[in-house]
């Protein structure tokens, strides 16, 4: 018993009318990475907040190195060595790495910070970590996404961290950055530090964790399972509570060309021609800066100064210069950063769904609210948006439902070409498949779609063809049925690592 670093014993957390944790138990051993899986709302967040001292349990016990911990707040838990590193890295951009490392705990004399001592201490500490590879004098704002994650973890370690909780640390990280982060975690593990690792991706859990626990609806449905004894499908089933039938797009009959893209030019983008068929789902694969994302943005008027020609069923048009023009030309766009660019969080579901197509429910500048309500009801029903009413602010919804609102907004513009960036990022396993089916249904009605996703499994399952991008050009286009993850990776990702770093 006493060799556990942390033990959670039948912890219950009740809010007013809701029980978020219904008697959860798990253990974390020293020098291990412990995966935590579960849908949004399953209780993951409440559980880690309880461990970090942000939330006090209604009942149940928490043991730290065998000792019972009572009524500990954040400070008390941090004193013990428990740190929570959240999704939004808490870094002060305008300060240096060393400043951030010792944020609020700078070596000082009276009111004055001893800068020399601080940099010396930071240097020594970061050298010890070795893999951190961070320069104490660099401004935190100049760091890459992965280095910011590392800085946060280093800060927790510097403050005496023994158990570090990572809440979806791979969000926004590229394939190679993810590898760097995992190396860093493995290295720290050998020094005896433990991690709780929260993720939506089974593959990540299987790659980095030693043990995994799965929460569903506030219950622990699989505690402390060794990753050697579980499979990805098995985990999905545990998370959702039933067999998850993975969506697989069926081969499509031949269709005429709907969209022709010609001579698309922008900085770092040089696409001579690409035809997209009616009702086709085409995937764009490539590293950041390869042109995959950039072409999607250019089609929607998001790249200032981009030029080119489009042709939709014989109607020639210029590349739109503003999203409003793109919408007029029946092009819709789903932003990868949902929270920032996807929706107006403080506004209602209804207002968000009709945001891009408001003129369709208006007459002479006046919004016809009855018509609006009807349209919103249709979308809510078809896409099964779960909310108490259409007037709920979108921010109060789960990630999956937020994404459904965003897709509804796109569809309300009656598009003929939809650019989908990371359509399933941060979404529960079950809802992911729903989104895949929505894309499929859309294409059956003749709408062409472009899917840009960092999840290659997903890309191959939902698309008809995949276009692979390197250095601003399309290097290959192949039917998805003839592709494998390895082929796509070698063509669009691996082979260009060198050029990317030398660029």
């Amino acid at each position: 018993m006493t060799n556990h670093l942390l033990e959670i014993d039948t912890v219950v957390k009740r809010y007013d009318s809701l029980t978020a944790l219904k008697g959860v138990s798990l253990t974390v051993s020293p020098g291990t990475v412990h995966g935590l899986l579960g849908e949004n709302g399953a209780g993951k967040s409440t559980l880690v907040k309880t461990i970090a001292g942000l939330v006090s349990p209604t009942s149940g016990k928490i043991y730290w190195q065998g000792q019972e911990v009572n009524d500990a707040d954040v400070e008390a838990m941090e004193d013990l060595g428990v740190f929570l590193v959240t999704q939004e890295p808490m870094v002060v951009d305008s300060m240096t790495v060393a400043d951030n490392l010792m944020l609020g705990r700078w070596p000082s004399k009276g009111a004055f910070v001893n800068d020399r001592k601080m940099y010396k201490m930071a240097s020594a500490f970061l050298n010890d970590l070795d893999d951190a590879n961070l320069d104490p004098h660099q401004l935190a704002g100049e760091l890459s996404a992965v280095d910011r994650r590392k800085l946060n973890i280093s800060r927790a370690l510097h403050s005496g961290g023994k158990l570090i909780i990572l809440d979806e640390p791979t969000t926004d990280l590229s394939v190679s950055d993810k590898a760097l982060l995992f190396d860093f975690i493995r290295k720290l593990k050998t020094t005896g530090v433990s991690f709780i690792f929260i993720s939506h991706y089974n593959e990540e859990i299987l790659e980095i964790c030693d043990e995994v626990s799965v929460l569903r609806d506030g219950n622990m449905v699989g505690a402390n399972q060794s990753v050697q004894h579980v499979s990805s499908d098995g985990l999905s089933e545990l998370v959702v509570g039933r067999d998850v039938v993975l969506f697989q797009r069926q081969p499509q009959p031949e269709k005429p060309v709907a969209w022709s893209l010609r001579e698309i030019r922008a900085q770092g983008l040089e696409i001579d021609e690409l035809d997209i068929y009616e009702g086709e789902v085409i995937g764009f694969a490539g590293l950041p800066g390869s042109g995959a994302r950039e072409l999607g943005r250019a089609l929607y008027g998001l790249i200032p100064g981009a030029t080119g020609h489009l042709n939709y069923r014989g109607n020639a048009m210029k590349l739109p210069a503003h999203p409003a023009l793109a919408i007029d030309n029946h092009i819709a766009f789903l932003a990868e950063d949902r929270l920032r660019d996807g929706f107006i969080g403080i506004q209602s579901i209804a207002e968000n769904i009709t945001l891009s197509s408001i003129h369709r429910v208006a007459f002479g500048g006046w919004v016809n609210r009855a018509k609006e309500r009807k349209i919103v009801e249709q979308f809510s029903k078809v896409f099964e948006i779960k909310a108490q009413s259409q007037n709920d602010p979108v921010l109060s919804l789960s990630g999956g439902n937020q994404q459904k609102v965003c897709i509804s907004r796109l569809m309300a513009t009656k598009p003929q070409l939809v650019v989908l960036n990371e359509p399933t990022r941060g979404i529960d396993v079950g809802v992911k498949e729903e989104v895949h089916r929505i894309v499929d249904t859309m294409s059956n009605s003749g709408v062409s779609s472009i899917v840009i996703t960092s999840d290659l499994d997903e890309m191959l399952r939902v698309t008809d063809r995949v276009a692979m991008f390197v250095n601003g050009r399309i290097v290959d286009v192949q039917p998805s049925s003839q592709l494998t993850k390895d082929i796509v990776f070698s063509k669009a990702f691996a082979s260009t690592e060198a050029t990317r770093f030398s660029a």
Binding site: L302, H322, V367
Partner: protein
């Protein structure tokens, strides 16, 4: 819990009622029709100006030049009819057109030239105040035609001044524009999340320019009302209104970060500030404490409002 939300969202009105009760207990004249007529009349100019302040706030910007715009545009309008002999409506039109142009320029500077609205409009405010001093040269404009001052002086229905009816009309109109029109939707969306609104196909710059332009126009109308009511344009016309006109919408729940707030709340904020001022002038408070007590009352109002924002934010 809808009842709790109802209480919190209308807190400005509950404070208003509390103050009316308080002042009525201290001076029984306070609770008379005559006094309410006065309060409503006095709230008209502040109310219009608060609407002018609210529009830029709703799109996440701020306009400090509205009070200066009010003063200068009214002087230009009045001089156009006095010096050039234009008919009253044309003179007023010239003033309002000028104010609208000032708003439009503010909008252009903030969007196309990417100037920070706080500083841009501060500069504009100083220019407008200076220009007013330059054209009045310290003297007071008082020679208006009867038609010009009609709005500020006329009464109907047995002694009711007409100004408050315009106030009411302006708020109803603005409420409809914000809640029922495409423009209103785009205004809230732009302020609520500018990036997302842009990606959703809204022409952010146009909406912001429209907000500033409309704001300027309303400030111009407020300027005409103030001159007509005072029968005078002084060389620092409007300077006393600036802070109150920004405070009223914020008290009434308009977020300084944009995208939040209702017209109903702005009206509450306007009445609250007017009542504090009127109430303090008629109850017997020692002279040297009046300003301080007024400040304390506004401070309490803001503190209570912060509770509302906090409660909503935590949800």
């Amino acid at each position: 819990m809808p009842t709790k939300d109802f209480l919190l969202n209308n807190i400005v009105w509950f404070m208003l009622i509390a103050l009316v009760v308080l002042f009525s207990l201290m001076n029984q004249y306070f609770f008379t029709a005559a006094n309410f007529q006065n309060i409503l009349t006095q709230a008209t100019v502040l109310g219009l100006l608060a609407l002018a302040a609210a529009l830029p706030l709703l799109v996440g910007e701020i306009d400090l030049s509205i009070a200066g715009n009010l003063g200068l545009s009214s002087a230009i309008g009045a001089l156009a009819s006095i010096e050039l002999g234009l008919p009253t409506f044309a003179g007023v039109g010239v003033g309002v057109a000028f104010a609208t142009l000032v708003g439009f320029i503010n909008g252009l500077c903030v969007t196309k030239l990417r100037m920070v609205s706080l500083i841009e409009t501060l500069g504009m405010m100083i220019i407008l105040q200076g220009a007013l001093l330059a054209i009045t040269k310290g003297s007071t404009i008082i020679s208006f035609s009867d038609a010009y001052i009609w709005v500020g002086q006329a009464t109907i229905l047995g002694g009711w001044p007409v100004m408050p009816f315009f106030l009411l009309a302006a708020f109803i109109l603005m409420g409809i524009v914000l809640k029922r029109t495409v423009f209103g939707r785009k205004l809230y969306a732009t302020g609520g999340n500018t990036d997302a609104a842009f990606v959703a196909g809204i022409r952010i710059d146009r909406i912001k320019i429209a907000a500033f332009t409309l704001s300027g126009m309303i400030a111009g109308i407020a300027g005409y009302f103030l001159a007509s009511w005072q029968i005078a344009i002084v060389s620092d016309q409007g300077s006393g209104f600036l802070l109150y006109s920004i405070a009223a919408p914020i008290l009434g729940g308009i977020s300084v970060f944009g995208g939040r707030g209702q017209v109903w709340g702005i009206l509450g904020g306007v009445f609250l500030l007017t009542i504090i001022q009127t109430g303090l002038s008629i109850v017997n408070v020692p002279s040297f404490y009046v300003e301080m007590i007024g400040g304390v009352l506004i401070f309490i109002a803001v503190a209570v409002d912060a509770l509302r924002v906090g409660a909503n934010g935590r949800r």
